[in-house]
Symmetry: C2
Subunit: 143 residues, 2 copies
């Protein structure tokens, strides 16, 4: 989604287009690492030093309402934001918290077969797979 499409999308729902919003949206929508609100805040602050964390949260809510990002809650009471709506696996390192998407045609195909098995009509899904990342598995086999 480019900037123009984003602006159109915002306006169509009656949301105003502000530079802060554009910056936050661009950042999340192009992110690959499922940033936290704090990470987004720190990043956008480089361009808008006066920005508030509240603005980040409000914009994130807005993107959720538009269906452009999914909020992934975690047990450490933090959330990460995922702009990928297509069925995919969130590969998560339980030690350092790094997340990346595993996305492949076969994964999607098999997941659709699982859904068919259940007979349910999903609004959305979340597939998390916990495994130590390369870095962490080398550092301390068992802490």
């Amino acid at each position: 989604m480019n900037e123009q499409q984003l602006i159109t999308r915002l306006r169509s729902k009656g949301y105003k287009v502000t530079p802060q919003r554009i910056a936050i949206c661009q950042l999340i929508l192009s992110s690959k690492d499922h940033p936290s609100a704090e990470q987004i805040y720190q990043e956008v602050k480089k361009t808008y030093p006066a920005i508030s964390l509240a603005t980040v949260y409000i914009t994130l809510d807005l993107l959720k309402k538009l269906g452009l990002v999914q909020e992934l809650g975690f047990s450490d009471q933090s959330s990460r934001y995922d702009p990928n709506n297509s069925p995919h696996i969130n590969v998560i390192c339980p030690r350092c918290g790094k997340i990346y998407d595993y996305e492949a045609p076969n994964v999607k195909k098999l997941w659709y077969r699982i859904i068919a098995e259940t007979g349910l009509k999903p609004l959305r899904q979340r597939l998390d797979l916990y495994t130590l990342c390369n870095k962490c598995s080398q550092e301390n086999p068992t802490p």
Copy 2:
């Protein structure tokens, strides 16, 4: 897991066996609806009126360490506790928050094929599928 196995398991890790712990553990391990800490607290309070929420949280941590329950964090900053370690789908109603497990041999089989695709060695996984429950889908098609 029966009470005797639970006691043995606790002792083997050096945890003390108290009536509160037994009550909390039994409740969670036999639950089918992935209760929240608050729900567990309210339930156990019927038997132990003086019990503290802190004790519930501490016991939940203990069960996590023993690998007997998985904590499922959600974006509404609440957590639910799942005693089912086998790969299964958490079917979640986004409107009322009800959760139940969908567990079937074929689901497990297909999920293992997905894992094989990725080439990863998962420590654990979490499969969430959001869909309106029967009750909610009848009440208000679109709120």
